[in-house]
């Protein structure tokens, strides 16, 4: 059923009790052309684009929990594309271009809001960094404005520009913003199922069957399945799945936390990020402040971060916005992010034939969801990455052609 004003009015006569389920819970079939492992935004999106743009009929998405219950539902929903290197700029800007049409494409409101994002600069070095990145963005056709202190103070009324962390300026991307993270997973799930994709929840992959160097099947908690091609889109558990297929990855899985405050009236109409003092904050449409910071340095699969990290994100937030000091924080949570040495993702082929991987998005995967899914769908279909995905191969860790956003964008994604 299409979501439209007509159907909204029509369903109101039956007190909204007869809306169809957005997606069903089919049984696992014994055989699929393509199986996507991981039902987050990237995985569901991959299935959607495979069905829509490449006409693949027989697809399943296997999710060990519930769809969007992993990192898709645990991030701070920030979307931007002002990365330094050409390769990253192309990938993340491809995503922003898709974000702009996503709600109408999926017939599902993902609440994409281009409210603008400010990268704060607190020192001369920070100003040089944002200037360099801003000019690099211009060259790549990404919108960027370099602001001075007065301009920042004017645009963000409550910010303290002369505090312990003086704000000298900011890099503004107006096309950046936020989206509703759950809606992204739900929208892709519903749109994919309309194209015939089976979405199997509570189905964990326990083993990967390989014959003569080619993937032939998967062992899952809901039985075994024969496959022609497999796309792994796992996030935190990338190494665990790779080990099942007999190869390893240049990845460490670490906890990343976020938290939200009690809801308040509109006070912050943009996204604020600071790499140097390391906090990022925006206000959700519900009114909560959504706050995030850096990841812990130790490996963990516990989906729980360390307590002192919360202090590390709150201290600079209160310095920058003294007005927030009396807010109560409601909830905090952690997700497990798979971090690569250069903080760029791994998209492409693996040592196993017809087994493809899309992982290593680390602390910044949400913003890339449509772009990642789109280029990975093409990679799975053609068996080769396209021009956008090619620089992000696993191979780069041997050739040395890293896309080093770790040094370029500092830590915050």
């Amino acid at each position: 059923m299409k979501y439209s004003l007509y159907n909204l009015v029509k369903n109101s006569f039956s007190y909204h009790e007869n809306w169809e389920k957005a997606w069903s819970s089919p049984d696992l079939k014994p055989e699929y052309d393509v199986v996507i492992v991981g039902g987050g935004g990237h995985g569901l999106g991959t299935a959607y684009y495979l069905a829509k743009e490449f006409g693949v009929k027989n697809i399943a998405v296997l999710e060990k929990g519930w769809i969007g219950g992993g990192n898709t539902g645990r991030n701070t929903t920030i979307i931007r594309s002002n990365y330094l290197w050409d390769e990253s700029a192309a990938l993340y800007n491809h995503a922003v271009n898709l974000w702009e049409g996503l709600s109408s494409e999926l017939n599902f409101n993902v609440m994409f809001s281009q409210r603008g994002l400010f990268h704060l600069a607190h020192s001369v070095h920070d100003m040089q960094e944002i200037t360099r990145r801003g000019y690099s963005n211009y060259l790549n056709g990404i919108d960027a404005e370099i602001l001075n202190q007065d301009q920042v103070a004017k645009k963000i009324p409550h910010i303290n520009v002369n505090g312990r962390y003086p704000v000298l300026g900011a890099l503004l991307q107006r096309r950046a913003g936020t989206a509703r993270h759950d809606a992204v997973a739900w929208g892709y799930a519903r749109a994919a199922e309309n194209l015939g994709v089976d979405i199997i929840q509570n189905c964990e992959v326990k083993g990967i069957d390989i014959s003569n160097g080619k993937v032939v099947g998967l062992q899952t908690t809901k039985g075994s399945v024969k496959v022609d091609k497999v796309g792994l889109v796992p996030a935190g558990h990338s190494s665990v799945l790779a080990n099942m297929a007999g190869f390893s990855l240049p990845i460490n899985s670490v906890p990343l936390q976020a938290l939200v405050s009690e809801p308040v009236k509109p006070i912050l109409d943009c996204v604020i990020m600071s790499n140097s003092v390391h906090v990022y904050v925006s206000q959700s449409d519900k009114g909560e402040l959504v706050v995030g910071a850096g990841s812990d340095a130790y490996n963990s699969y516990s989906q729980r971060g360390s307590f002192d990290m919360i202090e590390h994100m709150m201290a600079p937030l209160v310095e920058l916005f003294p007005i927030f000091s009396r807010l109560k924080m409601l909830r905090s949570w952690g997700g497990i992010v798979d971090v690569t040495p250069d903080r760029s993702p791994i998209i492409g082929k693996t040592p196993v034939k017809d087994l493809f991987i899309n992982c290593g998005w680390g602390t910044g995967g949400f913003k890339a969801t449509p772009g990642s899914a789109h280029v990975f769908a093409e990679t799975v279909f053609r068996g080769e990455p396209n021009d956008i995905a090619a620089p992000f191969s696993l191979e780069r860790h041997f050739s040395g052609a890293l896309v080093d956003e770790a040094a370029a964008a500092a830590v915050a994604h």
């Binding site: 558990h237 190494s239 665990v240 390893s248 990855l249 240049p250 990845i251 460490n252 899985s253 812990d296 340095a297 130790y298 490996n299 963990s300 699969y301 516990s302 729980r304 360390s306 307590f307 002192d308 690569t340 040495p341 860790h397 041997f398 050739s399 040395g400």
Partner: protein, 108 residues
Amino acid sequence: MKLQRQQLLINNFFMFIINCPYCGERDQTEFTCHGEAHIARPDNPSEISDEEWGRYLFFRENPKGTHFERWTHDHGCRRWFNVMRDTVTDQIIKTYKMGEAKPEISNE
């Protein structure tokens, strides 16, 4: 058992209490984790291939379970040591000095 689990939960919620082999038990905030331990630099750097260099530099075990890692006691003795820790429960199994052999993983 129940008490143990409660204690584990409390320890986990707040932070690790790390038993520095030189100073004894201290808060996690005094320490920094520096990633996987027991990675030996290749003996024959000029002979090994790009792939072998890549594996040495970038590829990590990242196990779901027992993990061996290097920590420093930054705000204490400032010395390096190794920690054996479970990455699912975050429970620290053992801490030991640099140069000591990797402890065996028991299959309990």
